[in-house]
């Protein structure tokens, strides 16, 4: 994993409790407890979101378990070099997305080609996205839609669905906040046309 890449473009530093873990273990010279403690904290806070993130990258439950395990392992490894200059959330999601993107690239041969948000936006009004009130089917439809996207667009989409703001998504992806804002605008349009059509159907 490119740790140096992870350290770039962090505007929000870690919160006080995270800094406390880092500084306490740095002064005691005990790397393993720091890593374990940070890992436990991250999983406690973002464990469910990481599971959802994995679902955005892999549909098959068995393979998804492998991906989740890989994400957890890489996250645990990465905390060895975590220094608090990024927020725990940014760091966690960067590692998770990077691991998932590597996974997708490995699996790419088996997948059909990915599409960008721009391409989907152009075809969004074709009428194939009839809203479905059944939650499970809607989730399936949403997940399938996410898994079609190119990795970077997928990161933005998943982060947006997790209610992250443009600045946080920009930190995770490395794009400029303005660029992320534009992408989010596209995402909202696409989601509205596919999943949010009460005006027509309610």
């Amino acid at each position: 994993m490119q740790v140096a890449r992870l350290s770039r473009r962090c505007y929000k530093i870690a919160d006080a409790s995270t800094i406390n873990i880092v500084s306490r273990t740095q002064s005691s010279g005990a790397p393993a407890p720091k890593r374990d403690e940070l890992y436990q904290t991250a999983i406690g806070e973002f464990g469910r979101a990481l599971d959802r993130l994995a679902a955005g990258y892999e549909a098959d439950p068995e393979k998804r378990l492998d991906l989740r395990q890989d994400i957890h392992f890489q996250l645990w490894r990465s905390f060895e070099v975590f220094d608090g200059r990024c927020s725990l959330k940014t760091w966690t999601f960067r590692v998770a997305h990077n691991t998932a993107v590597s996974y997708v690239n490995r699996e790419r041969r088996k997948n059909t080609g990915f599409v960008s948000l721009e391409e989907i936006e152009r075809t969004a009004s074709s009428g194939d996205g009839e809203p479905d009130i059944d939650q499970q089917r809607a989730l399936q439809q949403l997940s399938e839609f996410i898994r079609q996207l190119k990795p970077l667009d997928r990161q933005i989409m998943i982060s947006h669905l997790e209610d992250m703001d443009a600045a946080t998504i920009a930190e995770i992806t490395g794009l400029s906040p303005a660029n992320v804002g534009m992408k989010i605008h596209r995402i909202k349009n696409i989601l509205a046309s596919r999943f949010f059509e009460e005006r027509r159907y309610v």
Binding site: L65, Q69, F73, P131, S143
Partner: protein, 189 residues
């Protein structure tokens, strides 16, 4: 936002997806990766030594009429080397009881130890790749000699020899890269 509207809100749909049935356990992941290293090491040793013995056996059978002294000594050395490799790596090949200090170690310490062992194993690839490499060298030497005495044209087997040499070279190069990657992981730990 009404309930019906919320039901169609993608963010709500996304976040309300059912929980994963199986939880992720870091200790289990580490254990699985450790077992993966063990099984890779075992299969590498067995494949390499097996290939060397098969190669030596076939060549000795095919070239026996020549009764070449170099062939007998060379292939004999390859078989002895293979046998010594099997003896040296016997614990790896047939599984082993955990070392006393490893039993008490945490899964993560045990993993680090496995990484180090795997790295050392890859760095010493010449030990377990050696018999096959030696067999190839002997074959090349004999065929080259025979070619000049008019016994058998070298060009008939040259593609096989080149393929084996390239495969061996690629194997050494790949293992060196893997060892470097493991060293990086150990350094990070």
């Amino acid at each position: 936002m009404s309930d019906q509207t919320r039901a169609k809100d993608p963010g709500a749909i996304w976040k309300n997806q059912p929980e994963e049935g199986r939880a992720v356990n870091l200790e289990q992941i580490v254990k699985r990766r450790t077992e993966g290293f063990d099984s890779s090491t075992r299969s590498e040793i067995l494949m390499s030594i097996g290939a060397a013995l098969l190669f030596t056996g076939i060549m000795a059978w095919r070239l026996t009429p020549a009764r070449d002294r170099m062939l007998q000594v060379g292939f004999g050395a390859a078989i002895v080397w293979a046998a010594l490799s099997v003896y040296r790596f016997r614990r790896r090949i047939w599984g082993r009881a955990a070392r006393p200090d490893a039993i008490a170690a945490t899964g993560l310490d045990y993993y680090r130890k496995e990484l180090e062992q795997r790295r050392d194993h890859l760095r010493r690839a010449w030990l377990w790749h050696g018999p096959l490499f030696l067999a190839c060298m002997v074959l090349i030497a004999i065929l080259t000699g025979n070619t000049f005495s008019g016994y058998q044209p070298l060009r008939n087997v040259l593609p096989l020899v080149i393929l084996l040499a390239a495969w061996t070279g690629f194997g050494f190069w790949r293992r060196r890269g893997q060892a470097k990657e493991l060293q990086r992981e150990i350094d990070e730990m």
